[in-house]
Amino acid sequence: MIKFSEQQLKIPKLMRPVYLVTAGQSKFDRAFPHKRTEELCVDALTQAAEMINLTPAELKRHIHTCYYGHFADHFGDQLLGEAVIHDRLGLDPLGNIGIKTGGATGGSTLWEAVKAVASGYSDCVLAMGWERMDEVPTDEGNFLISCAADKDWESPLGHIYTGYYAVMAQKYWKVFGKEEESFRRTMAEISVKHHGYARFNPYAQAPMKITVEDVLKSPVVAYPLRALDACLMSVGAACAIICDEKTAVKLTKGTKNKPLRIWVTAGSHSLRPADRRDMEIPLLPNETAKQYKDLGERFPGGERYPGFTGFLAARMAAWYAYRMTGIVDPIKDLDVIELHDAFTISDIQTYEDIGLRPYGEGRDYVESGDCYHTNPKTGKPGRLPSNLSGGLIGCMHAVGATGIMQTFEIATHLWNRWAEIHGDEKRWKAFDRKKPADWTDLQVKGAKRALAISHAGVGSHVTATILMDPDHLLKKDA
């Protein structure tokens, strides 16, 4: 049984307000035969500068330290790729550091960047993430990713992460899905939604107009997970500029970007789900112990927590983040979210970990239509739209960049610039992609608060990034 001390449950506190000022990203794709990684990073930083009417050279003058998210050196066969990128961005001799926490690398990079500003060490920092996953064929890519599992106990068992999530899917489907075919269809609906939203995103790698039947007929990778239940393998870069208040105001003066308050929290758990000991559920502000007393009766087999059905790291990231920022009910207090949909099943698991629904009832977030931009059942705005970028299933999973891409996406809603950025004909053309005739503006109207969850394989590391319009905070001293 894991028990937490009072010290371990301290609510994190930043020493001064920290702001997201601008962000940018490259096109995402399965392969870039004609671009080096540095070229993609330059694309991302150039967009970040342009978003606040600066040239890259002007923006660089403000940067004091750099945080680089790059997960897998062995993917690009280049050790210390961070040093290469730092040099090519012309940021020497500033201090820089590489961050790697598997799939959560992008979120962790923001975590470090925010702390650097909060502490007063820097007033303006660059958080840049990327991944180069096209230097090996896909099967070798799966092998290289599986090296993030325990090399003696798990990696040799198939060398594929889909398998490690599939056992979770099997257990969750039996316990909370009650072996209903309808649950499997709900999982598939997530893929339909995310590939569908990717159609309106020029940066996205896998726009697809598909049906639940298409997902259910796609090839099995590790039963019950099929090819269309899985995230993409991608190449691309994303960056964010994080500042103190004075710099944030200065850099955004006369631009369309309002500085957004940013907080990032983190949790972790053993790489091996099999090692995860039974424990009491750490409760979020919108939960009570009473509501989980009969969880095992309502869902036989569901009494073990987190077992193979929950991600404690995600729960703890949310536990710290909500208390740090004053969020009580994420469905009511947030306006738009991006979740780490590595697989359709882990998306559902995460709904519960972060309190969108109680444990055991995650499917309702999809089935109610709350997760959509426009609820297909009511025709009204979804209560809390998720993954309007297309997420990892439809947009990209260029690992080190993913958590930053998510933050870029939610920020565009808070800046009320989603349509401008995603609908720009020039961008579609520059990316050699065709803007669909039925392109739809997915701007969440009036969005003031947003969340992004960045997650490493089977929940070993999870971060929660929260953005808020500074005029719409939930807690004065956050």
Partner: protein, 196 residues
Amino acid sequence: MSKYATVRVKDNMYKVMGDFHHLTPNTPIRDLNDGGKLVGVTNPREMTYIHSYGGEAVFFESLSKGKLMATRCDNPKCEAKGTIYQPFRIHCMDCLGKNTVIDMTDIAKKTATIHTFMVCERSGAFNVLHKPIKFINIEFEGVSTILMSYLAVGEPEMGMRVVPIFQTTDPTYTILDLAWVPEGTKKNKLPEGFSF
């Protein structure tokens, strides 16, 4: 029967053929001083990577044609306008604009000198250069940065005038297609496959 891994690009995507990895059985590692108890296992692994030169591809292609390409920032708004980079940089490190690709073969032939050097007696796995390897760093007139390469003939000295040679026969399309020899070296002294 394994087939050599090859890659082509079509429609902006890699088209791969052949075997990119080979599986060899592992073997146990045993402690001979402790009754042959198991200590661990070997993990044999052979993988072929796919590598894109991106905007640097023209540099490596040009070596095979006997040309040394560099880049120059021509952005009129950049403080570093006019700066020439060798090693070749795709983007200006100041303004991040796309640099102009220039042919600096003549500059190299007329002005290259050894800035520093070292002689490497032992190399790492996968090295294909003959030992000892004479690493040299070369500076050029009017060029901002210094290039790392190797001296294929003779013994290096600081300040020595050197000229580039190129592997134009059976090129590898890597940085190894470029080497240097002391000024005045005769053509018949060049390594096989190289020319001025």
